[in-house]
Amino acid sequence: MRHILSVLLENEPGALSRVVGLFSQRNFNIETLTVAATDDPTLSRITITTTGVDKVVEQITKQLNKLVDVVKVVDLTEGDHIERELMMVKYKATGAARDEIKRTADIFRGQIIDITPTTYVVQLVGSSKKLDAFMEALDTSQLIEVVRTGVSGIARGEKTLSV
């Protein structure tokens, strides 16, 4: 099962490497990882997506909590939540492909944010599934480059992750 873990940790040098190191050291898998400071500059927030059976995810959560720099951990997938990922895709955009890419981007509510006579860069925001669907919708022969930020997530409603 796929899980989205939100981690609040001290914004200290080396703190991120402890989190990342934990995953490789214990053979846990990381699918995506995003990190940035929060409104409180002494805290960073990491969102990690990982897949594993419940027992493994339970261990991951416990091991994260055990790190001295980690203030809090929640598994967003345990409750209602919103997840978003941003993607930028560069396409060869000449001839008929130019229209095709534009049309598909519109359907997915993406934007073309860079144009040259031969290329487009499409920006798309959504769930990871939606981004995957966009990638599948277009002919890969035109594809030059993809960059995805990884997932950020937040709980719906009153629930918060804070100190």
């Binding site: 080396g14 190191g21 050291q25 027992k55 261990q59 416990k62």
Partner: protein, 573 residues
């Protein structure tokens, strides 16, 4: 207001933390610190001959006292030499503070002379680490380092100190914080009362109970509570390798150590139990044997301070996260107030069964007609000569297992061994670390001719500081534990398990100014050993020639259940 340099702050903070001895080795990055050490009397520094030994000395002090030991090493090779010692402490949850020099801040990342990324290298084997960014942070970092090392599930903490942080001319105000508060680190102080009640029901209603107690009971200073609980209930107790001494080894209710080389009765009792009361243990693979076949009829209560240890290998029916002492005290309260009484009829039958197992094997070893001494006999003699009261610091190998099986520890904190990492070379420096802190105690290093050579250079440190430990070397002329596995699994192809060209240990230790003895016959053993221990102020190396063909039994059969054991070269369960 008092102005101190970073180096002076470091020493002062250690002193304010209550430290009187540190173990270390100088080098370029820590020269300011060594100069500050030279100019004070509060802290004694013991100069080892290899940084690994410094870490093991600090570690052994912690194992005996529960307080963090301190090692000081230079950057680069000094720091990397300390790695094995840090990992050893980490694997056994031992509090330790390791101060490593680092190249000056402006050179970090430049591949400077003797630069290694110590924070990076040590990351997976420390509880936490700090890098000093400003000299004035030093007292606060020291305070936090000890707090983290000693509280919760203890472990080693590294403080990496760039040389410019200790510059003698840069002085700042020294303030040693009285308390530590960290929003991200709050170890649990008590167990969940609902869980404890649930567990108590299982405990009191068990028909075939066993208490499985580990190193957490010793580290958590919960031995008295454990003994009271076990005694009141009349339940059998088994100890892990790390837990030996946590329950008195000569007590009738002790069934000895469990696991791979555990006693027949301990492993049988575990396997057939209907309730395992596990405290301060982690269901290590050297204990459980095959996980699928583990104790099929037992309900499991698991108490540990570290939630990651619970249900990691074996799912607990009732998990309790908390310190052993506080949690066991809750159990004692419930026991006193309980209307339900233990089922003494059922327990009578259970004890009958256990005693049967005991007489069937009962820690026996084979003595054949050969003139050769059996290693087990040597340990039994050591137990006799020291009245079971010595600090026994072991190396790693067959001799370690024999020591664990045959030395009957009645007190906690006396059995000092590298259980988790299994570090050959640990025993001798560990014995030194104990002896310098407990000068009146009998301190024995039980070792093999293989292990002792991994830190034998420390004979020199012992001459310098007069550290009169007794080295009991079970010399079987081979890397015995390796040889045993080769006998069992590789048709006795003894690939590189022989120690050819062994030194004459007697002459070797004499060259360092110590006393050497060679013992070849059992008839001479007792006299020689008594003589060795009577020489209170001399280091004595007893080179004891033992049967090279002896194997450690019982030995669990890989991937079997706890009860599946080889009992000798020809018998199995």
């Amino acid at each position: 207001m008092e102005l101190l340099s970073g180096a002076e702050m470091l020493i002062r903070a250690l002193h304010d933390q209550g430290i009187t001895k540190i173990y270390g080795y100088p080098g370029g990055s820590v020269l300011h610190i060594y100069d500050a050490l030279f100019q004070q009397q509060d802290i004694q520094h013991i100069l080892v001959r290899h940084e690994q030994a410094a870490t093991h000395m600090a570690d052994a002090y912690a194992r005996a006292t529960g307080k963090a030991g301190v090692a000081l090493v230079t950057s680069g090779p000094g720091a990397t030499n300390a790695i094995t010692g840090i990992a050893t402490a980490y694997c056994d949850s031992i509090p330790m503070v390791v101060i490593t020099g680092q190249v000056p801040s402006h050179l970090i990342g430049e591949d400077a002379f003797q630069e290694t990324d110590m924070i990076g290298i040590s990351r997976p084997i420390v509880k936490h680490s700090f890098s000093v960014k400003h000299p004035s942070e030093i007292p606060g970092i020291v305070k936090k380092a000890f707090h983290i090392a000693e509280s919760g599930r203890p472990g080693p903490v590294v403080i990496d100190v760039p040389k410019d942080m200790t510059n003698p001319t840069d002085k700042f105000e020294y303030v040693f914080p009285k308390t530590v508060k960290m929003r991200s680190y709050n170890p649990v102080t008590k167990g969940h009362s609902g869980q404890i009640k649930k567990a108590f029901d299982l405990l009191i209603n068990a028909k075939r109970p066993i208490i499985y107690a580990g190193g957490g009971v010793i580290i958590g200073r919960a031995c008295d509570e454990l003994v009271e609980l076990a005694k009141t209930l009349n339940y059998p107790v088994t100890n892990t390798l790390m837990g030996l001494g946590g329950y008195p080894g000569t007590d009738r209710q002790s069934v000895g150590m469990l696991g791979m080389h555990g006693s027949y009765e301990a492993n049988m009792t575990m396997h057939h139990s209907d309730m395992i009361f596990a405290v301060g243990v982690r269901f290590d693979d050297r204990v459980t044997n095959g996980l699928e076949k583990f104790c099929p009829t037992a309900k499991i209560v698991h108490i540990d301070i570290d939630p990651t240890s619970i249900s990691k290998n074996i799912r607990a029916d009732v998990p309790i996260v908390g310190p052993a002492k506080a949690v066991l005290q809750e159990f004692l309260k419930l026991l006193k107030a309980s209307k339900v009484k233990p089922d003494t009829e059922a327990h009578k039958a259970w004890w009958h069964q256990i005693d049967d197992w005991r007489t069937r094997h009962g820690g026996r070893f084979l003595t054949d007609d050969s003139e050769l001494m059996k290693p087990q006999q040597v340990i039994q003699m050591l137990s006799k000569v020291t009245n079971g009261d010595a600090y026994v610091c072991s190396d790693v190998g067959q001799h370690q297992m024999f020591a664990a099986q045959y030395y009957k520890f009645n007190k906690p904190n006396r059995w000092i061994n590298s259980g988790g990492l299994g570090t050959m070379g640990f025993g001798f420096p560990a014995a030194m670390g104990i002896k310098v802190n407990f000068p009146d105690a009998d301190v024995a290093c039980v070792t093999g001719e293989g292990s002792i050579q991994m830190n034998i250079q420390e004979l020199s440190t012992c001459s310098q500081y007069d550290i009169p430990v007794k080295i009991i070397c079970l010399n079987n002329g081979s890397l015995g534990m390796v040889r045993q596995w080769q006998d069992m699994n590789y048709e006795s192809r003894h690939s590189h398990s022989y120690m050819e060209s062994l030194p004459d240990f007697v002459k070797l230790v004499e060259a360092y100014g110590h006393v050497g003895m060679r013992v070849e016959k059992y008839a001479d053993l007792e006299g020689a050993m008594r003589e060795a221990f009577a020489m209170k102020d001399r280091l004595v190396f007893m080179d004891i020639i033992v049967d090279p063909k002896e194997h450690v039994y019982p030995m669990q059969i890989p991937r079997g259940a706890m009860r599946d054991m080889l009992l000798s070269k020809t018998e199995r369960t």
